[in-house]
Amino acid sequence: MIREASVTRDVPHHAFDAHRSKRDVSRARSSNLGFGFAVSITLVAITLGIALALALPGVARAQFTYADPGTLMAPSGGAPRVGAGRVDRNVYAPGMLFPMEGLAWANSQIYGYGGYMGPGGGQCDSRNYRYPWYDNYCEERSWEMPLCPGGRGHQGQDIRPETCRDKAHWAVAATDGMITSIGTYSVYLTADDGTRYDYLHMDPATLAVSRGQRVRRGQRLGLVSDAFGSSSTSIHLHFNIRKFVAGVGTVYAPTYMSLIESYREHIGAATPDWRAEYVNQTFPLASRPFELAPGEEVEGHLEMRNTGAQPWRPGEVFLGTSNPRDATSAIASAGWVSGNRAATVDRVVAPGETGRFVFTVRAPDAPGDYPQFFNLLRETVAWFSDGGGPRDDILQVRVTVVAPACPAGLGEAWACDGPERRRCVGGTLEREACAMGCGDGVCLEAPRDDDGDGHNSSVDCDDARADVFPGAVETCGDAVDQDCDGADLPCDGDDGGVALADAGVRDDAGDATLPDDARTVKGGCAAGGSGAELSGLLGLLLLARRRRARASRRAS
């Protein structure tokens, strides 16, 4: 993932006149006309140039963006491949001058428009002439290169000149030194420290130097062209830095960062306030599988280097969802700052330092692919892509939710498994958590208290009556089990017969009361004719007991 926002607006050709380097202004002093007239013309040109530059302040400066070292363009216009090349931030030629006059566009000759593995079009397609730059050191080639992943790759950097015009833009000496070789399509410049700078594909017929000549930094060497011996290539400068790297020997050193630093100096680019550079991450790269089970959570982090001018502070700089911006993420976990803010920076990060964004991704429940783009932002101030990078479509976590396979014997019918239920549909395991437990493949519902008596249906034997609940006051003989103990309370003297329908009444409060005559317990508190017969029988039983008692006393 990674890197650099881009302003995709093309730089118009006239911008060259408005944004000439200091070298170009000094050369404008020369002329083939009469000295006085030439001076006048020159002064007018300089004044106009300065005026235009002032009128369009820092267009080129503000727009200069570049992908991280090691981020290569992809075939057929695919997404840039982060880390596919050599991730090397060393500046192997510190202080060198940018080797070309005017604006420049470093990108791939084979994956760009017009390249044989590009998205079509021609080499002069305007989309080849815009930012961001892309590294092409270690781009796919069969060339042995011990510093490249896999030991092979393109060496040096291909740079398009300001426009697609052949033999119109000068390549210049990156440093003081000597021209030590001129070949069919190569010119070598060797500096005093033994570093060699190679310039390939300049027009051999218009070279401005000769072998053995000492040159000064900034001196014109040749016109950028497409020379390639008996063949030809695209209009570009292939630029090498040849270095003796300890432990490896003389190699074509990674050129990208040296070019970036020198170009920034060349165009006077100011450091944007908010800009970041990818460092590393613990989540798999988007190009690699990151499979999770539904609901699974994984914690990781993303590290970014502060390449802007402002410090990052926790609570101010966030990792937010992008492409589109601020969308609630499907992979957000409960630990996120919000649904569209994965994390804030872990500490105060000064320019040049590296900060970490720690967050947890949660796999959605439904199987599928969930790509999520991120970018940094200074909350309420700016997204980093608007200032210097990275672009909104670079940082990415791509979760693929894979449903676990079905266990043996599980069919399409729901079956309980502890606190959840499961079934297998079409070879995919479906799981559902049951908050209230599971019974016979059905998630139990939460008990309710429909009558509002404070006891839910799990204990209330009649949840439609507020007077019926465990511990309620039992009314005897009313055929209602108020206290839910399993039976109605029999009244006193009850012969144990079946409780009959309550003949009592309810008072104004709705509480049941027994009729006065029911308290005499007439055959189970029932009212009516059968009560009289039972009363008479009870009286006979009492009389019989009295007679036996008197007889017993006479006998003693």
């Binding site: 003796f244 790297v245 432990g247």
Partner: protein
């Protein structure tokens, strides 16, 4: 003649080294008698004499059209004729750009030239052979006008054999050794 004898004795007495015990093209001749040296233009011979690093010359057949150049910390030899460009570059200025961990991952050099490990590569059609000898890194590039058909650039064979054929000048190696000893 006396100078030549003295130089020869010095070469043997001081244990002058060639870049590899099995290298072809090593010479024990005094510098002045070495054809590959003698055939150079005067300015090139001066550059050889000033070289801060041990000198390897192109074989004699290239000498009349070759140019030797020397800087404070480097030596360069160039030849360009009939669609063939040769470039030899040597320097003892190294940068420590790789970590120990990365150095351990670097694949060993798969070839050998002049008795030492060597690497080959291609850079936009230009064949290169590189090797080290006693702290000096050498690089020999072969560039062909006929990029697609010239066999000298189509494979590393020519570059490897030419590297073996380079003519070492013992006196310059001794000079380099003395310089290294003085630096210690």
């Amino acid at each position: 003649m006396r100078l030549g004898l003295v130089l020869s004795l010095l070469a043997f007495a001081c244990g002058g080294t060639d870049p590899g015990p099995t290298s072809a093209g090593a010479t024990s001749q005094p510098l002045a008698n070495e054809p590959a040296y003698a055939a150079l233009a005067a300015e090139s011979r001066d550059a050889v004499d000033r070289s801060p690093v041990p000198v390897l010359l192109l074989p004699e057949r290239y000498a009349p059209d070759a140019q030797v150049m020397a800087g404070p910390r480097w030596l360069a030899i160039a030849y360009s004729k009939d669609g063939l460009t040769l470039s030899l570059h040597a320097t003892d200025v190294a940068v420590n750009a790789l970590s120990e961990e990365e150095l351990q991952r670097v694949e060993p050099a798969p070839h050998r030239v002049r008795g030492v490990p060597a690497r080959t590569t291609v850079n936009d059609g230009i064949r290169a052979v590189t090797w080290e000898h006693e702290g000096v890194a050498y690089s020999l590039e072969v560039e062909c006008a006929d990029v697609l058909e010239d066999e000298r650039c189509a494979a590393p064979t020519f570059a490897l054999s030419l590297a073996d054929e380079l003519v070492a000048l013992p006196e310059t190696f001794e000079r380099g050794a003395r310089r290294a000893g003085g630096a210690q």
